[in-house]
Subunit: 305 residues, 4 copies
């Protein structure tokens, strides 16, 4: 397995030169565009990795998966999906127009910003810090890293450059889709985006999703089976920004990306996968990360579709 | 297997009373809303069916899958996807607005009407009849029914009540996405929608998709592996109209529905499935058909996500 | 007055070099971009003109004013405005999206293509030729030119390059906003757009509008007062394509332009104005024509706002 | 004149029963729906009024006219119109979608909320209070009331129920169309909306607009001629929310309404008009106020179109 990963990494790496790191906050733009880390955690609990698989990065939109898992665990499915849909939207992740124009006037799914802000606002806790504490504790358990934490500098940058997200959040407030103070709600959302993780940790979480909620390290249930299925389904239809459809065609497994360069993927009954490659394509997905997953999907026959 | 199918059918049938048949053309509205046919064709080439699995109906939008398969077989992937995208749109199947507003000004995918009309226009042949002849020959081979044919009455009704599709087609003409005469192009599209099939035949085609293009009846390649994968991926993200995301969550397999009440599904390496249940939910999907697939997915652990 | 017109023409002419003639049909693209004709018909029935004021051109969208006047005269206000609104839309003249997205699902006003096609379909007559006969007779009376006629070549070109208008018309058919055959309805619309007139004739019609429907040549009522007012109001809010607001600011009088280079304007109780200048700005308005009207408005204090 | 006003008021009043007061803040909902005040200030400096013409109310969106006048006076035309268009939009006053979808990505005009927030942010001053001080001083001079002030309770209510406006403002911030702090910018905007005035004062300001900027009370220039013209033109195309086109048809003069029940109108060279009638139609315009203006336009032949 290690040689497969190493070969895939070597073949995928050159395409990183065609991408570039996210530039809207310093912490992301300064990442090494030539990094590429792969981690694969299997159903028997064995970890395989190569490259920069332990380098920490900001998970950004991958947190949308974790936040949904946490809120579904705490409050159940209906609490979320009475306020957010389950359908792909065809719009950019930061689009606001459907909140004004769609018949139902709610976010199309939890993986666009509007939906994720609603999910984040549902976390139990009196304020952003308290909500985030519970959330981080949940992620630490899933990732088997009790030291996992938010990157404070990323959080502060995020908060500084958030005009569009503030616009979205105030629109959600108008629609009565979020409770409490808008600024506090957004702080919680920025904190979750600023979580610092690595590909190895993502692969562990992916494995729990792959096993319908059973953590292969422990054999214990980490997530409900239903939450795992909902999340993997949404990852397939909406996980890779505007490239979700193409990714489904080319790779064929549930995955969620973030502009920090990470990708979290889950192959039913077989593997959790974590990828880190901060050079992005024009849709905001790790360009070498997608290439690596394409090759890995071929090499290991991962495609579920 | 037969007892599973029979039980699933029995459990799913009552919900048909909550749906109603399509009412825009007589041939569809007069269908028996209490019909429910299930057919499952397995990797070993065995057919299992129950209920109205041999009742013929108009495949309507399921033809979008077959047309895409045919055109990809004849002309390759690029010929289609230079004109049509691979992304879900979040809009109704008959929406026109993205043709005017989207940056790329092309249909988002081949399973909304705009995309399917483009695909249909690409079929080789001098006119609608000739194009349709080649198409029907292709479907006959896949379905193992040399007598398979278009329902003339449905075709004529379709053509009579097609103002929205004509509007879409003329917009596509303006964008130079279709060649030839618009009326002729639409005739071809209506012919393909009016194909009369049954659940048994759909299950055979689903099985070829499930086997990445190998027909289990013959062990021969019926479709390219790539076409099979592209199609199954699009079925997951865009196959069930505005309910694609929810279907992925609840059932978790690639499927494509039509307002005639049919559903075609494919479970990788295992089964092709055909369903017929003409009572529709408000999104245009067979209401008892979805219920049956939900229960079948649970009973046979079909979910791939 | 003649010296004012001559000076205005001279000052406005150089800007024509910054525009270009419409290029979607040959008859328009071959016009002389340096032509500029001005005609002003006053309340006492005196005609003043200079430049290419008698050169004939295709009136194109100016026909939307004449068609509305004709249909309001024949059928009354309600017949039109139960199907078309009176509000500016902010969209391009050939936009289709509001037909799908607006709450009322009807064209915003009679001066965008969708609205004008509806108005045209309301003209009395069994087919396009018959409808157009009545319409041309009406325009001949207003223009005092019994020989006024359609330019057959323009009509045929128009009909050839009309994919977008066909798309709009079929959408209107779907919304049940037009009766009869779509192709026949469009033929009538293209005929009216292909009417060949000159600036002198436009100024006569403008004068009748300016006098609330009384033709100053004869002292007789040519249009109802109400129709005149409705039309002038719509000219102010929607007459100059996407430049209507700016034209109201810069010139301040009701006007309607066409991509043939014509402009028809009406100054209450004072003047009808006709302009011809086929070099267009990027919005499709006569670039020298607008410049001339700006200067004329200053020189004669025409602004009504 | 007084008897004309009295008769018009009497005839228009009954229709107030078909409207209702704005209900989103207490100060507006508690207004007397049967009130109707009319004031007409003529070119000779004579004031005519009847009914509740001196009752004070919150001017709300009428402040968009005054803010534009103030900023054009202070900074010139280009400072505003480099950031805001001059075109009607066809969208609701509080729409956000064009900020995301339009090619120019700026508000269509200064009389929708998005445009007015930009204009407000341009007022000179270090913070909202300071900006508002200059603005109120400007309005006091125009209205000849040195005691004119903001209604503190309205301002506070406004600020409390402003989620949609905050969403718009943050989107404008993202587009770099407003400087400074968003909350402070909005405070200034809410202050201007909360200005308390009466119909008599509005008629004085309308008269200055009617006289192209000359205040008929003093014979002095109160506004630049250009500002007056720009404002009146925008009032015609965009002054009456989604009913601007219909108002132009039915009344035919530049006017601007507010949900407090006020209307400000200007008839070139003749009259400024102020109206107060807090019962609103479904578009947010004073229902009896529009009726009164329709009748007044007929009685005094006010229509300029």
């Amino acid at each position: 397995m290690h040689s497969i990963l190493a070969r895939v990494r070597e073949e995928a790496l050159p395409i990183a030169r065609q991408g570039k790191t996210a530039d809207y906050i310093p912490a992301l733009s300064s990442a090494d565009p030539a990094a590429l880390g792969l981690a694969l955690f299997d159903a028997q609990g064995a970890m395989h990795s190569c490259g920069e698989a332990e380098r920490r990065f900001s998970i950004q939109s991958i947190s949308k998966v974790l936040a949904l898992a946490y809120v579904m665990s705490e409050l159940g499915e209906a609490a979320v999906f009475s306020r957010v849909g389950k359908e792909p939207s065809g719009d950019p992740f930061n689009s606001i127009i459907r909140l004004e124009t769609s018949a139902k006037r709610r976010p199309f799914n939890p993986f666009i910003n509007a939906g994720a802000i609603v999910v984040s606002s549902l976390m139990p806790g009196a304020d952003a810090s308290e909500r985030n504490e519970g959330f981080i504790a949940f992620v630490r358990r899933l990732a088997h890293n009790p030291g996992l934490a938010m990157d404070e500098a990323v959080f502060l940058s995020e908060r500084e450059s958030a005009a569009r997200n503030r616009s979205i959040a105030w629109f959600l407030k108008e629609l009565k889709l979020i409770e409490g103070e808008v600024d506090d709600c957004l702080d919680g959302y920025f904190m979750q985006c600023a979580l610092s993780m690595n590909a190895v940790e993502l692969s562990r979480i992916g494995a729990a999703l792959a096993m319908d909620g059973i953590d292969p390290s422990t054999g214990q249930r980490a997530l409900s089976a239903r939450a795992s299925r909902v999340i993997k389904s949404l990852m397939v239809t909406c996980g890779m920004y505007d490239g979700s459809g193409e990714f489904a065609v080319d790779v064929g497994i549930p995955a969620k990306s973030g502009v920090g360069g990470g990708i979290l993927a889950a192959v039913r009954d077989r593997y959790g996968i974590g990828v880190y490659g901060p050079a992005l394509d024009e849709r905001g997905n790790s360009i070498a990360g997608i290439e690596a997953l394409k090759r890995l999907s071929g090499a290991l026959d991962l495609r579920v579709l």
